[in-house]
Subunit: 194 residues, 2 copies
Amino acid sequence: MKLLEDRILRDGQVRPGNVLKVDCFLNHQLDVDLLDKIGEEFYRIFKDDGVNKILTIEASGIAIACMTARHFDVPVVFAKKAKSKNIDGDVYTSTVHSYTYGKDYNITLAQKFLGPNDRVLILDDFLANGKAMRGLLDVCQQAGASVAGIGICIEKGFQPGGGELRREGYKLASLAIVDEMGDNGSLKFRETEY
Amino acid sequence: MKLLEDRILRDGQVRPGNVLKVDCFLNHQLDVDLLDKIGEEFYRIFKDDGVNKILTIEASGIAIACMTARHFDVPVVFAKKAKSKNIDGDVYTSTVHSYTYGKDYNITLAQKFLGPNDRVLILDDFLANGKAMRGLLDVCQQAGASVAGIGICIEKGFQPGGGELRREGYKLASLAIVDEMGDNGSLKFRETEY
C-alpha cells in the first residue's frame, strides 16, 4: 500500500534493535483518515473470504480493527492483555512472548465472543516474530473458529513471523513489508503480494 | 442518547459491586455501527468547541475515540497504561487508582503529542469515580493543553466523578447516565443534559 509506505518513509523512525517507530500516526497518536484507508484496503483484499468477525489484540490493533470493521459491517473482538476483574465466566487464554516488553504475558478472550460459527479476519499493526499472532491463532483454534485471513499493517520481513505463516498456508496480507532497516534510518520495502 | 440506553437495557448486565457489563457491544466485543453513531453524537455536541485533538486512554477508549475523530477529522492520542520499551524521549505521566484492577497504575503520553496549541475533547467509555479522567486532565494540564470538553458513553450517576467535574465547570456530556442499578438487574437512567 503505497500510501502507507510513503507515510512510513516520511514519519517512521528507525531505532536500535530493529525498532520501527510509527507512533505519530499508527499506535500512540492515530491518523484516523489513514486508518480508514487501511481499513478500505483490508476490505478490498479480504471481502470475498467470508469474514463475519474481526479479531485483534489490545491496544494497537483496536483502531485498525474498528476502521476495517466499518467496511465489512461485522463486530470486532479484541484479546485483552491485563487481568481484569470484569471478565467473568469462561475465557480462552494463551501465552505470548513479547519482544516489546521483554517477557511473557497472557491474553484472554471471553468464550462467548468466539466460536465455531465464526470466520475471522485477524488484524494487527505489526508482524515481526509472530508471537502475538500465534496467541491469537491459538485462541481461534480453542474456539473452533476458522481463520479467513491475517491482515498486518507493517511486517518486518527480515524476521521469521511472516514467512512461517505463509508457509503454513494462511492468507497473510501485509500492507507494507520492511525488508531492511539501515542504521542511517533507511528503509527498504518488499513488493507486496495483494 | 436513546439508542445507547436501549442497547444497555437490552445487552447490559448488572453485576455485584455496582458493575455494569457492556462487554458484548462496547468494550470487549465492539459494535462498530453503534460506536459510529456514538461518534456522531459526540460530534453533534462538541462540534463548535474548537476541538483539534481527541484524547483517550487505552484500551476501551480507543474505539470510541477513533469513531468520533472521523467526524471531527482530527487526530486521536491515547494514554498508555503499561510501561513500554518503545516510548522514548519525554513523556507526561500521571497516577490513576483503578477500581477495576484494585490498585494504582501510571499512565504515560509522549510529550510530542500534546501541547499548548491543543484543544482536546477527552473521551472514555465509563465515568464512575473519575480517577482515570483525573489522570487525563492532569496530563492536559502538564501539557498546557486546553480541554474543550469531556465525552462519556456511560456515567454511573450514583458515583461522584460526574458531579465533581460539572461543578468544576467542565462541559461534560454523558450519553447515558445510570442513576440506579438494582440487584434484580434493573437500571434507571437520568435525563441527559445534551
